[in-house]
């Protein structure tokens, strides 16, 4: 059977499963559509959160980022998991107790302010739209590589599948498809990783293999990797980072951004009890960790594999000839994600780091520049091919990459559409809308959101590449502090909250725009995006944590200078803090 047929079976089979689930889990009420009826088991919800959270970026890009950056990019591993500790302790149980459908609804009610609710809706939409474009584009790439269609056609097929289960089933359909997608994606991610770990270290668990002995050389794997890449002028993989302040703030921005992202928070609204919200955060992190503990192993092993493929006799000997390159290099060359240029016309593939320090060595070896450019996003997708794994593993990776992209896309689309139909239409434009009318509005908004996301996925605007800066920056600087103060302070009032959210948001965006261009339009940045220009060495991607601090300070300062929140708001805060009892107070 050809590889194409195998891929088609895996991808087609998984899509048929998602559609079957959608038909089974049709939403009958707004409660079904927004919170899956509110009866999801915490372990089921943990799995759904896992798929909701692990996007094309986690599945496809993260290992490549770590492979390229080594220790320095551990920030993504800690940042994208540590946020769940904050969710479990600072937000999820209380927002579940509040018992409404959307994140802006809590902000609007707690700060008794329509303006606060609108600021939250705007933040939610910008963060989620930026995020969803990457998912759609990721689905397009996976399709074009594995199913040999052009990426726009792939994108449209993916959009139709999401359309069926998201519009039909809302949160209910999304929950159960996410569970299926989690299973597909985790199997797809771990199986090739186990194979590669066995090949390189004789250890079946990749996370342990990462710190084991490289069988062939007898050296520890990471030491071997350091040796190979430093011999080619690259930075030491395990090298420490000088700018610790920036590393801390970047990790913190990712953590509080994770905790503040609405598409993750609303998943906690689907469990029956406050206690279940706490458990599901734990289960979510268990399911997420299965991938996140494996990713760093995939990163270092794939990097070593790539190097030993190009330099089979070691980095100080000759690299392979271009004509003798493996098939996977040819396949990825066709997608343009691997490019080769024979700069010194010797027919060999010289892959090394073009740095001034390495220049003398390169010249001595007759090299005239690095000849192979490998897009780091292909690392996970090409992993099974690099390691010569059987064709069904490649089919599995295709299905897994699509599952990761589609599950996150669906969660984001639900966050967007529930916010538009519930916060804007029911909350402001037409408060007397009937239950049936609101369900219809939610479905129409979802359809529109899918069409917009598909269009933007096919024609990504400049800001689409700035998911980390935009989505995490906004969630960290604006949403997370507002939610946390809403629960942990009775004193922060409407004026304080709005002033805090706006100042955190504006500070963060302005700092990002100064270095990355105003509204990300190339050439409009005021300062070059280099560490010398950064304030105290803080990169624009790390500034969200500082924005959050400003949000807290401004909110407390303005609140203490103005009146206390009304007594019923203080009772509302009491009621979200206790799973039982005080809850009735706000209903009087």
């Amino acid at each position: 059977m050809s590889q194409f047929a195998v891929n088609l079976i895996f991808v087609g089979g998984s899509f048929a499963l998602y559609i079957a689930i959608a038909i089974w889990a049709k939403a009958g009420s707004t409660k079904d559509f927004y919170v899956a009826g509110g009866g999801v088991h915490p372990i089921t919800n943990g799995m759904a959160i896992g798929a909701d959270w692990m996007s094309a970026a986690s599945f496809i890009s993260m290992a490549g980022l770590i492979a390229a950056g080594g220790y320095a990019n551990s920030t993504f591993l800690m940042g994208w998991t540590g946020g769940y500790v904050l969710l479990a302790m600072l937000l999820a149980p209380y927002l579940r107790k509040f018992g409404k459908f959307t994140v802006p609804e809590f902000i609007g009610d707690r700060f008794y302010s329509k303006n606060a609710r609108f600021v939250a809706v705007a933040c939610l939409i910008v963060a989620s739209v930026t995020y969803v474009i990457g998912q759609m584009a990721g689905a397009g790439v996976a399709f074009s590589r594995f199913l040999e269609v052009d990426s726009t056609t792939g994108l449209i097929i993916a959009a139709i599948v999401v359309f069926i289960y998201a519009v039909l089933g809302g949160m209910k359909g999304i929950t159960y498809t996410q569970v299926a997608q989690y299973i597909v994606l985790i199997i797809a991610y771990t199986i090739p990783a186990i194979f590669i770990s066995l090949q390189l270290t004789d250890t079946a668990i990749p996370a342990i293999g990462l710190f084991s002995t490289h069988t062939e050389s007898g050296l520890p794997l990471l030491q071997k990797l350091d040796e190979v890449i430093t011999a080619l002028g690259f930075q030491d993989y395990t090298a420490d980072v000088d700018n610790k302040l920036n590393m801390v703030l970047f990790t913190l921005t990712l953590m509080i951004g994770t905790a503040g992202l609405p598409h993750v928070i609303i998943r906690f609204f689907t469990v029956p009890k406050v206690a279940d919200a706490r458990w599901s955060a734990g289960w979510a992190l268990v399911f997420i960790a299965l991938l996140y503990l494996t990713a760093p192993a995939v990163a270092s092993m794939a990097r070593l594999n790539l190097m030993t493929t190009i330099y089979p006799d070691g980095p100080t000997s000759q690299p392979i000839e271009y004509e003798a390159r493996p098939d996977w290099v040819k396949a990825w060359e066709e997608t343009g994600l691997i490019t080769y240029e024979d700069k010194n016309s010797n027919g060999r593939i010289e892959l090394y780091n073009d740095s001034p320090e390495f220049e003398p060595t390169a010249t001595a070896r007759g090299w005239k520049g690095n000849e192979l450019v490998v897009n780091r996003d292909i690392l996970v997708l090409a992993n099974p091919e690099i390691a010569n794994l059987p064709s069904w593993v490649i089919g599995l990776i295709a299905a897994g990459g699509l599952a990761a992209a589609l599950s996150t896309a669906a969660g984001l689309l639900l966050a967007i559409s529930s916010s538009v139909s519930h916060d804007l239409i029911k909350g402001a434009i037409k408060p007397d809308i009937s239950e049936k009318g609101e369900l219809m509005a939610a479905r129409i908004t979802m359809s529109v959101a899918i069409v917009v996301a598909t269009y933007l996925g096919a024609n990504p605007p400049g800001f689409a590449a700035q998911v980390v800066a935009l989505a995490f920056g906004i969630a960290a600087a604006s949403l997370f502090p507002a939610l946390m103060m809403g629960i942990f302070s009775k004193r922060v009032n409407n004026k304080g909250a709005v002033a805090g959210m706006l100042s955190g948001l504006i500070f963060t965006l302005v700092y990002i725009f100064i270095f990355l261009g105003w509204f990300f339009i190339p050439g409009t940045n005021n300062l070059a995006n280099t560490p010398d220009n950064w304030l105290l060495g803080i990169s624009p991607l790390s500034i969200g944590a500082v924005g959050a601090l400003i949000n807290f300070i401004v909110a407390f300062a303005v609140s203490s200078a103005t009146e206390e929140p009304p007594i019923e708001i203080q009772e509302l805060v009491e009621s979200v803090r206790y799973p039982r009892g005080a809850g009735s107070a706000s209903n009087h």
Binding site: L77, V85, A207, T238, V274, L285, R580, A582
Partner: protein, 87 residues
């Protein structure tokens, strides 16, 4: 009512103490061992590198899981102890 409030206040204080303790551990393993104290831990070799690298890529995540389950278990018990759990 005042009796009930006092009880509720104690419960909330216990929750805050638990959160602060947990977040100290959370910060210690990630920002501490994984980032800031890595040079201090460089003497402790772990598979070709040092303990700080292990915390940054494995240890902090494993600790986070333990922390959440510990918190959930303690809080769910406190809910019952203070009579504030859901029926």
């Amino acid at each position: 009512m005042s009796q009930h409030s006092e009880n509720a206040e104690k419960y909330w204080k216990a929750n805050l103490r638990l959160i602060i303790g947990s977040l100290c551990v959370w910060a210690f393993v990630s920002y501490g061992c994984g980032i800031l104290f890595r040079p201090l831990l460089s003497g402790i070799a772990v598979g070709g590198t040092d303990l700080g690298f292990w915390f940054a890529q494995q240890g902090s995540i494993l600790t986070f899981i333990v922390l959440i389950f510990f918190y959930a278990w303690r809080m769910n018990k406190l809910d019952k102890q203070f009579g504030l759990d859901e029926e």
